[in-house]
Amino acid sequence: MRRVTGFLALATATALLAAGCGSGTSASGSGDTGAPVNGGILRAGIPGNPDHLDPALSYTNEGWEILEATNNGLLTFKKASGGAGATVVPDIASAMPTVTDGGKTYTFHVRPGVMFSAPVSREVKPSDFKFSIERLFRVDSGGVGFYTGIVGADSYAKTRKGGISGIVANDEAMTITFHLTQPDGTFNDYIATPFAFALPKGTPDKDISTIPQWRVATGPYRITSYVPHQSITIRRNPTFKSWTPDTPNGHLDGIDVQIGVTPEQSVNEIADGQLDWYFESVPPDRLTQLKAQYPKQVYPFVRNNITYFFMNERKYPFNKLDVRKAVNYAIDRNALVKIYGGQGTPTENIIPPGLGTAYKKHNLYPYNLAKAKQLIQQAGVAGAAVTVWGHNTDPTPSAVQYLAGVLNQIGLKATVKTFDESVYWDTIATQKGDPQIGFTDWNQDYPEGQDFIDVALNGEHIVNVGNNDLTNTNIPAYNKMIDQAKRMPLGDARNAIWAKLDYLYMKNDAAWAPFMNRQWPKYVSPRLHGLVFNGNYFELFPSMYLTQ
């Protein structure tokens, strides 16, 4: 899922995080020595609006970080750093689901007494979950692909009438049952993503980010105000009572998010004591200085991330395989890592190395400008006009300019189109936007190779709005392999298929030009502690506390 700017902890990065942050599994903060302190308002900064504050629509790290603190689903990823954070545990469900029918039926018991905040102010019911998942299809959510395996979901996606027959909610018995068309080893992960968070029945079928009466919380915090381009105010949810250690009360009294803070400005404001925490990573050029000057306030944060350029197979000249291969040969991945201040590892794989045996390094496209030029000539597209899309948060503009420069070098005629980051991700995910080539990245929704291959490359999931298959790749033979892998239990055999698909997509399709597994170093104020870098929800607000 999400493209860029937020954070993800790598399952395999526990040791790294432990070295940098203290404990690898729970609260691990800056100079964190004593017991957590309650109270205080966290002063946070963000460069632009988060994409959405609607669980059905948000698909960025920034949005998920906020929604994790305000809303809940049946299941959740354990609120911990590193490998422990990849474990799915019960949240509003009272226990893990009962799985029957050969892995095709999941039955959850909903915990009584969990309340929606005002103005709804009532208990969360199983039918609210059914409503929330059906709503995903009605609002063109980017997360619908996770739930199309539910019986009746495909037809509901077309008609949007009559509900999804495979979801049976019983408010009397407080149970909800999901019937799947085929077994799916990662269904619990889907249920733990914010897309499946509970919203009250009656929530309108439109973005509720700026509709306060529908921005209803179940978690320890609620969004009390959101003024786009200015601020987000988050305060304690008075109706919340913690029900498990994985839904903690939180230590902060609230969070004031100032919108419009540039990465450079964030460093200055944190150093001046005006800001505690920033949604983005440290500007690459400041990292060396900050590490030397404030070693206890800089944290490494490795995620399951792949940063890449996408090429739209439906658009000339990228509808030609030779052109896509040429781009892969033409980019110098080591040079691109330098643009990111060295905060990453060059790669040409789709799957990040943190996903165990699903990652098998290949070396299909060593840097070779002459070969790239030859492929462009061979494809007969020399001089073709190409517009490279990117957003405006540094250092992405430099990476986009690098690519445009390289495309000009190999014989294309490139220009650059820059968008504000707050609208960029939605824009590239619509067919109407119709980009030829552009920058993007993908961080895990859940720790499995499927999240990279199936979600971002399976042509069966191509939609007009909220499309995650930015390249419009659709290879039926590979789609079948994906479907086959999804039916398999989690483990090495399944991972081997993801690794093979990674190789096949890059060798025979090359619609991605992956270049880096990015790291996200963070710089925080000296009074901020309790940082937990979770692999799926990123940095967890409820774990943070202030000491001054």
């Binding site: 500007p283 050029d285 040079a335 330098k338 643009i339 503009p397 430099s398 820059t418």
Partner: protein, 326 residues
């Protein structure tokens, strides 16, 4: 605003003599000519003789030899090489490994071109509107004046950003004429349009006073038509004020181009201009200040020299006039 009649058309030789006696004018002219020379013939000469890379050549992985040591153009932590006494990367490099000095030379070409061409377009349109409005009077005057009022009522940069953003999406299409959104013509037209009222208004005021003068009445009495009067009688008499305004508006337009490019709606991103270079270096202002300071100094020197030259020209052509843009 103008509060005294300008010099006669034949007074340019006197004006030139006055100009030569003004040391500030001489210095500013030398600075301006140096910049123009450095940017136009100088840029390709520098590239072909001093270093072999153009303004858009990216050399992130490259090295240069300094004091017998190989130094990376961009370090592994992304920090580009800084200024130094060397032919290549004299002012250092940016994060994409592009030579800052070469980019400033080539960027100067674009900034000066946009500044001068947009100023010429602006002043030409303003001359036509100003003279026509004042001479024709009546409905024509009202229509033109209201149009100018309309443009004038918008804050300059707000209007420029709005126009530039709109045109950046689909380009400019007028009948069969289509200008691509990545064309330099877009910022030129935008900048020219927003400043037309600031030039047309004083010209209109000047013509209003001139049209009642005896030499115009004499021309009418000899049977001269409106077009001839406007071209042969009025135009030469507003030439001096126009020339002064041209120098001032060029400086203004260079600043506007820099501002629009800094905001991302001016010159296309891949084309170096002083504004673009500042915008692209701004993120590294702490660790690589040369990326913003050097093009900033280039803009400052150009604008100051144009303003000083404009003031000197005004003093030389019409010592009693007070002309100011904005």
């Amino acid at each position: 605003m103008i509060d005294s009649p300008p010099v006669a058309a034949g007074g340019f030789r006197t004006a030139l003599r006055r100009l030569r006696r003004n040391p500030a004018a001489i210095v500013s002219a030398i600075v301006l000519l140096t910049i123009v020379f450095a940017c136009f013939p100088g840029a390709p000469l520098w590239v072909s003789h001093a270093c072999n890379h153009g303004p858009s050549d990216q050399n992130i992985q490259g090295t240069i030899t300094e004091n017998g040591h190989k130094v990376p153009v961009v370090r592994n932590d992304g920090t580009p090489i800084g200024p130094g006494l060397r032919a290549c990367y004299l002012l250092g490099a940016d994060s994409n490994g592009r030579d800052l000095f070469v980019r400033i030379l080539y960027g100067g070409r674009i900034s000066l071109e946009v500044g001068f061409i947009s100023a010429i377009v602006c002043v030409t349109v303003a001359l036509v509107l100003g003279i026509l409005s004042a001479y024709a009077g009546g409905m024509t005057d009202s229509a033109i004046s209201r149009l100018l009022d309309l443009i004038w009522s918008f804050p300059v940069y707000l209007l420029a950003v709005a126009l530039a953003t709109t045109l950046a999406v689909g380009g400019l299409a007028v009948g069969p004429l289509h200008v691509s959104s990545s064309s330099l013509a877009i910022p030129i037209v935008v900048i020219a349009v927003v400043f037309v009222p600031y030039v047309a208004r004083p010209i209109r005021g000047q013509v209003l006073s001139l049209r009642r003068m005896e030499f115009v009445e004499a021309a009418v009495a000899t049977g001269a038509g409106p077009l001839r009067i406007m071209l042969a009688e009025l135009l030469p008499n507003v030439a001096s004020i126009t020339l002064v305004m041209l120098t001032l508006i060029v400086a203004n337009n260079i600043l506007t181009e820099a501002a629009l490019s800094f905001l991302g709606v001016g010159v296309p991103v891949l084309t170096p201009s002083w504004g673009n270079i500042i915008e692209q270096g701004y993120a590294s202002i702490v660790t690589a200040p040369a990326l913003t300071v050097a093009p900033g100094v280039a803009i400052m020197l150009t604008v100051v020299s144009l303003n000083v030259l404009g003031d000197a020209l005004r003093d030389a052509l019409d010592p009693h006039a007070r002309i100011r843009i904005r």
